[in-house]
């Protein structure tokens, strides 16, 4: 009978696992899960089994090259896609965690040449020597031809540092999103797709931005400038702060930011749900915080401010009052 009831507990535990990792579990679900887990020693044991097994997959998520190998093993890319993948010449750094809470176009990210899970940024050197840093939960397709270097941002954000190509005729480098295109004029800049609009910020050199359906309206941005645009409209220029590109170095830097806004910014780099208790939302916070390991960052916040970090399974974390 024992074996049978353990199997029953395992079945229930797997239902919980599916629910909690679905991406739409609410706080009450985590509380209900906690109660279920505490209710019976068999429930605890069953959950432990599931955690032991899923641990292996968590390890894969933090090693980009292992994840890419699995994607290679469990798919059959066409010859053209294989070629495109080869054009992503050098993978410089790797790291990151699973999960993504971002808005995407259906199926596109799966077919992307390069994509990052939620977690720390990853850097890629392209065949022309330009470097591409992908932020958390981002994906791009690379299309290099004789006449152009086209980077298609499908989701998320990239920082681009263009290289001067040696020994060949000039090929323009352009980045497109669903909202329009940005042509680089020898430069360092970020492009982020927010879903409803795209934001471009320039740190060195200049770029030319054109909305998808209104190419008449293109505009040149200089270093220190940023702009937002939809498929048909450009916003006013605003200042671009170099702090905004520090994610590429693995940090978020904030100056007197509200804790709830900070928690929201951090949640971009963290699997599962991360929430801030309204009771502590207006604590002001400043400093630079690592994004590769958000556990460390949260621990640090708990040491410096009168808050505690409550974790209910790996899928739900709450920053709340002491």
């Amino acid at each position: 009978m024992l074996a049978r009831s353990f199997n029953h507990a395992l079945d229930e535990a797997s239902d919980w696992f599916v629910k909690l990792s679905s991406g739409d579990a609410k706080e009450r679900d985590f509380i209900a899960f906690k109660q279920w887990q505490e209710a019976d020693a068999l429930h605890k044991q069953a959950w432990q089994k599931i955690e032991q097994t899923t641990q292996h997959f968590k390890t894969v998520a933090s090693h980009q090259e292992i994840n890419q190998t699995l994607q290679r093993l469990y798919s059959a890319p066409s010859p053209q896609r294989r070629l495109a993948l080869k054009q992503l010449a050098v993978l410089i750094s790797a790291g990151g965690l699973g999960y993504a809470g971002y808005q995407t176009q259906p199926w596109q990210p799966l077919l992307a040449d390069y994509r990052t899970p939620t977690g720390g940024p990853q850097q890629v050197t392209l065949a022309d020597g330009s470097t591409l840093t992908l932020n958390s939960a981002s994906s791009v397709n690379i299309h290099f031809t004789e006449s152009e270097r086209w980077i298609e941002l499908i989701a998320g954000e990239v920082l681009i540092e263009t290289a001067h190509e040696q020994g060949r005729s000039y090929r323009p480098l352009l980045v497109t999103t669903q909202h329009g295109k940005t042509v680089a004029l020898g430069t360092r800049f970020t492009v982020r797709d927010f879903g409803g609009h795209t934001q471009v910020s320039v740190f060195d050199g200049a770029v030319r931005v054109s909305p998808q359906n209104n190419t008449q309206q293109s505009i040149t941005l200089q270093a220190g400038e940023s702009i937002q645009f939809s498929v048909s409209q450009l916003s006013q220029k605003a200042d671009a702060s170099t702090l905004d590109a520090l994610w590429a170095k693995g940090f978020i830097v904030v100056d007197n930011m509200r804790l709830d806004a900070f928690v929201q910014a951090l949640s971009r780099y963290r699997p599962g749900l991360l929430q801030c208790d309204p009771a502590v939302a207006d604590i002001q916070i400043s400093g630079s915080f690592p994004i590769h390991d958000t556990d460390i960052t949260l621990q640090h916040i708990a040491e410096k401010f009168p808050v505690k970090i409550q974790t209910y399974t790996k899928f739900f974390t709450k920053v709340s009052a002491l």
Partner: protein
């Protein structure tokens, strides 16, 4: 194993009779005499580990089954290793993983392949997209063009499959 042990005599007898054709068969299948020699050894080691007596009615069929199983594992391992090496071939020398991390990565990949290997394609994919890439069920459903209810079903199926394998300590 003493020289007088009848099962040892049986084993030597079986080995002498069958070693050559198994080796030849594996050579033909694998196209490598080195790999074939290794797997021939492994086949007989497996045979020794079997608890049942060696009086097998159809020794050729029996040995072929063992050798075939080993060969499939061997080829899969080789494919996994090749896929991984192709993946890290693009790394700059400074970022290339050490021998130790390579070995660990291969061990993990083989483990995952053992866990997920027997499952249908969409079940594998749904589970990996959820657990490794952290996509939500709605995103997986859109990616794989299936319903959210199927995503839930596939993930649960894959999870219970992996837990069962892990428990049976097959890996």
């Amino acid at each position: 194993m003493s020289a007088l042990d009848p099962s040892a005599i049986d084993f030597i007898h079986t080995y002498q009779h069958h070693q050559r054709w198994i080796y030849a068969w594996l050579c033909k299948k694998l196209g490598s005499s080195q790999d074939a020699a290794d797997l021939t050894q492994d086949t007989f080691v497996k045979l020794l580990q079997k608890s049942e007596p060696l009086t097998i009615a159809e020794p050729r069929a029996y040995l072929t089954t063992i050798a075939h199983g080993l060969m499939v594992n061997h080829i899969r391992r080789r494919d996994i290793e090749r896929a991984y090496l192709e993946e890290v071939a693009h790394f700059s020398p400074a970022a290339a993983p050490s021998e130790e991390s390579r070995a660990m990565a291969l061990e993990l990949l083989i483990k995952i392949d053992t866990l997920l290997g027997g499952l249908p394609y969409k079940t594998q994919k749904a589970f990996l997209l959820s657990q490794v890439d952290g996509l939500t069920h709605a995103q997986i459903a859109a990616d794989l063009r299936i319903s959210v209810a199927s995503v839930r079903l596939y993930i649960k199926k894959a999870l219970l499959h992996c837990v069962a394998l892990q428990q049976a300590s097959i890996c």
